[in-house]
Subunit: 458 residues, 2 copies
């Protein structure tokens, strides 16, 4: 039997007012932006150091109380709900940038540091951290969900960019995983095990990550195409030709309508690619020209280039606003599922087109946006939850989408994670691999106190 | 109690003559090229399919007989010795290239396929697999040791390039890990757990890997410097400036002497960088010029460029022959330790120079060669094992080298792995992280039949 109340009493003795059981605080920490059901924790503990996290974990372990780590609350699969109650550990106050090693292009931060905070801090040093999931997420949360986003096609995901992790495990031990070396063959890759573990193997308190020099030249552009298929085929060819494109984002016509309304723009209402090139001036010129050649082969309109920083910022802000823009355009259908399948790039066009047909046939509003250089795209499925028939249709489309991606050799989630929302698909994707995950989980957290009910955790 | 003899009888019933207990076969499968002690297995089973590996593992599990996977036998840390006896599973006959997906830049191979075999097969398709540890290793072995080599600075290591693994685990189950998607947030990263596990978590039977288009232009060059420090500082600046160099290899003067003798060349006897650039013609030109500017700042001599394929092949053959060249030059000191520490690049020059001083002070022949773009270098420590005092000095230098690298935030092994040779340093590097590794090992292999005595395996 767990004894959350006793755990709360003991944690309060240490944190004082930094432990909250207020309804509004608990609710804020128990519900994400999607239609995943909200379940508030019994209390929220605002930790300020790895050692405090350790103490909280030790108390929770003693009382078998569930622990739910929380960064900025921007994840999309019910990662931080509390289906079994317990203590939410909010690390947003752990926002210190611990060290920046400019010469080595790496840094170490506390888990609550957000990517925008880090990039603001780095700007004067000529460095940046490229992983950009849209939201101003915490680095701890991005590590836990193996986040990626628009720059992943060139710079990789959190999988490739996390060098090390400090975490408090279920047994209360602080473990520092990884080194500052760029590569290592020393033992099992514990760092990569924590990346994507979604709080089920431990609470991440510090993260070591790779940085990059701000490119000498950044060239961004927007270009409309006759069809979504033409966008996908352009992306496929860019990747196959090895052009080191930094971003290549598909935004479908539905999204353009929404963005035009939301961001007061006048983009052509057609499927569009947002692209960006990084490098020397000569290199970005050459790459941009190569892209233009491919795009025109697939019937693209003129490319609108943005070379000034403020124009680029505006361009990408519009792209990042897409989710909110579509939400704004569909009053009464605020409940949404942000899907994120990822397939081998040769199957991308086919997967997107089949999915669009399925949406049409079922009369569902599902604008598509995608990190198409990775074969990853989002259908944002909007739904009026009071309409039971629509809910049923949306769920069926969702399931077919995931099965379509898996059948093509892809994954049910390219970047959002499993959380509580995709657990049935985890089994479908991994088969008996899920048993292996569960063995690891049981070995490292026999009491199942670390974020139970998420990812591979029972 | 294990019963290897009974396991041998049962495996023979299935494999017939493909199970060998011949002395010479066992010895060949129980000793690597270094001074790590050889320990032959009780028998060698030549498996031809994942299902055969499964049957062998099931038999061994029943009789608690140790299992030692074997690819080409080119690893350098006693990975495939049999300190507790048992059955060596030789997968070199599993050499089928199962699928090449040119459009997606990936392929799937059986574990025994070697990197040269794969690249020969791929050439006509305009593709290549970049990871190049020097030896013509098997892809299964390279996965198991998290190998890297000369191209890692641009293309990453096996960590970044393995997309999926099929393995037979200790419980006899075949588990297919990973998908063909370029990224995924679905569950724990089992693929990355197998990469670098050195046969202690399962027998790898198939590997899915990333491929790359053969660059339009490849420009390689050789350039002598006044000091090793100047070489390192050039490498540091190249990396910090973000030049996407494909290879940047330090070869010290001792090595040049040996290579000149072994490969009948007339290179200037000075610390030298071997470099290579990949890209479009314009890009490699620009990168080469940027490199030349940096090199000349650090006092480099003229750069000798090799643009023809045969000249490049000769250049890199000389680099790859370095290990054998130094062996040839030191008769009576054939026993060597191929060290491979890796440090943050800002500490590289300091680490190399301090190590050279230590070698000098202790009168040890230890030529240095390095993948300096990664901060990774090899001191090949030669030693006359009949000279007890020299053995002692060599071991002390070795230990100081590793402690120096760890103190600088580095790792005891950048690419060779732990095997049986570096187990004490695994503990030193990971602290209580080793307990976590051991928990995982115990969970997945409670009988400890998978390559016992290596890496984190008891």
């Amino acid at each position: 039997m767990n004894n959350v109340n006793q755990a709360i009493l003991e944690i309060r003795q240490i944190l004082g007012e930094r432990l909250s059981t207020a309804q509004i605080v608990r609710e804020h920490h128990g519900k994400d932006q999607t239609w995943n059901p909200g379940q508030p924790p019994d209390a929220v503990a605002y930790a300020l150091s790895t050692e405090e996290v350790q103490t909280i974990v030790q108390i929770c372990a003693r009382h078998k109380a569930p622990i739910i780590p929380f960064g900025t609350g921007t994840s999309l699969e019910g990662h931080f709900t509390a289906p079994h109650g317990g203590i939410c550990i909010d690390v947003s106050g752990m926002n210190q940038i611990l060290e920046v090693n400019s010469e080595d292009l790496d840094c170490r931060v506390q888990a609550g540091v957000t990517r925008k905070q880090l990039n603001t801090y780095l700007r004067d040093k000529g460095l940046f951290f490229p992983i950009d999931p849209g939201a101003d997420a915490s680095l701890g949360g991005m590590t836990a969900t193996r986040a990626s986003g628009t720059n992943a096609v060139r710079y990789g995901t959190m999988r490739e960019n996390v060098m090390g992790v400090t975490a408090v495990l279920a047994n209360g031990e602080i473990v520092r995983m990884g080194t500052r070396a760029r590569k290592s063959s020393a033992g099992y890759d514990l760092t990569r095990l924590m990346v994507g573990s979604e709080g089920t193997l431990g609470v991440i308190t510090e993260v070591g990550i790779k940085l990059y020099g701000i490119p000498e030249s950044i060239r961004a552009g927007v270009c409309a195409f006759p069809t979504v298929e033409a966008c996908c085929n352009t992306a496929i060819q860019v990747i196959q030709m090895g052009i080191p494109i930094a971003r290549i984002e598909l935004v479908d016509a539905e999204h353009i309508i929404a963005i035009n309304a939301y961001s007061k723009l006048t983009m052509v209402v057609q499927p569009t690619l947002f692209v960006e090139f990084h490098g020397t001036d000569a290199a970005t010129h050459e790459q941009a020209n190569m892209f233009a050649d491919i795009a025109s082969e697939f019937g693209a309109g003129p490319i609108e280039w943005a070379t000034q920083e403020e124009d680029r910022a505006k361009l990408w802000q519009a792209r990042h606003d897409a989710f909110w823009a579509t939400k704004a355009i569909k009053p009464g259908k605020e409940e949404s599922i942000a899907t994120d399948v990822c397939v081998p790039i040769s199957r991308l066009a086919e997967c997107v087109v089949e999915t669009q047909k399925d949406l049409e046939q079922n009369n569902i509003y599902g604008p598509i946006i995608g990190h198409v250089g990775d074969g990853n795209f989002h259908v944002v499925l909007f739904c009026d939850r009071s309409d039971a028939a629509e809910v049923k249709r949306v769920k069926a489309v969702y399931e077919r989408l995931i099965k379509r991606a898996l059948a093509m050799g892809g994954t049910c989630t390219g970047e959002h994670g499993i959380g509580s929302g995709k657990r049935e698909y985890l089994a479908l994707e991994h088969g008996n691999g899920l048993d292996v995950m569960r063995s690891i989980k049981a070995a490292l957290d026999p009491l199942n106190i670390m974020n139970p009910g998420k990812n591979a955790a029972p």
